[in-house]
Subunit: 156 residues, 2 copies
């Protein structure tokens, strides 16, 4: 029963912790903690979607119209977060790049090539094997990602 792939979305840290980490990171690099950066982090945290820069921008305009957040700020902040390894970007097939918060539990992706749905899962056996492979090849592993493409239950 263990070692069975499980299908879930789970956070390892709560928002306050995440925000704290972000503030530390900013301070370390002489960067400022701005409202824009905060709401972008918050929006990413509250989204279970994998967001493209543009969709994130729309979300932000809907939720915080008074801030009039510009698209450039979205790109800038996503780059900042990605450089700091707080978010990771993914690009599947034809669709463009999408971002997701890295602070969630690590997970891999199951992508339905018919309806486009992305299901997340974690499998300990694979996680472990990845570490071993990196070691064997003299690689210091920082991160990894895996995607399985196919047809989901519903589409069959």
């Amino acid at each position: 029963m263990s070692n069975v792939a499980t299908n879930f979305t789970q956070r390892t840290i709560n928002y306050d912790q995440l925000l704290g980490d972000f503030k530390v990171l900013l301070k370390k690099n002489n960067l400022k903690f701005t409202i824009q950066r905060e709401v972008i982090l918050e929006t990413l945290y509250n989204s279970d979607e994998h967001l493209a820069p543009e969709s994130l921008h729309h979300l932000l305009q809907d939720k915080f119209p008074e801030l009039k957040i510009g698209i450039a700020t979205v790109y800038r902040t996503l780059s900042l977060l990605e450089d700091s390894d707080m978010v990771t970007s993914l690009s599947f097939g034809a669709q463009g790049k999408k971002y997701e918060l890295g602070a969630k539990n690590h997970h891999d992706h199951l992508i339905c090539t018919s309806c486009g749905t992305i299901t997340e899962f974690v499998d300990e056996e694979i996680e472990e094997r990845q570490h071993n492979i990196a070691d064997e090849l003299g690689f210091t592993m920082q991160d990894h990602s895996m995607q399985i493409y196919g047809i989901c239950k519903n589409c069959k």
Copy 2:
């Protein structure tokens, strides 16, 4: 000794077979077999690199200057090949999308975040586990890809 990650690039089919498959595919879809399509397929076959559309275009201009292949044709052909599952596209981190021939043996990627080098490997244990996971989740697996990010030997 088995189950050890190995680092290689190996083709499962030779060029004539590949070309044959391509011709069949084209005929099936009422598409024409053109010189441009042939040299693009050939160039992808002969490259061990993961090619961005632009680098592919440069390669083609170098190797077949008389054809004056346009960038639009490169994009068109890559899309065609991707739609037909003959090539797959990858996008790692900041760099844009790159294409590789899918007819090579399946392999995963080890990406050095310092120098950008991409090493390919295959691990049977992971391959098998991926199939199991897809089954467990009621998914019909068509393909998969995996990336491990880290620092390679040389960069350490």
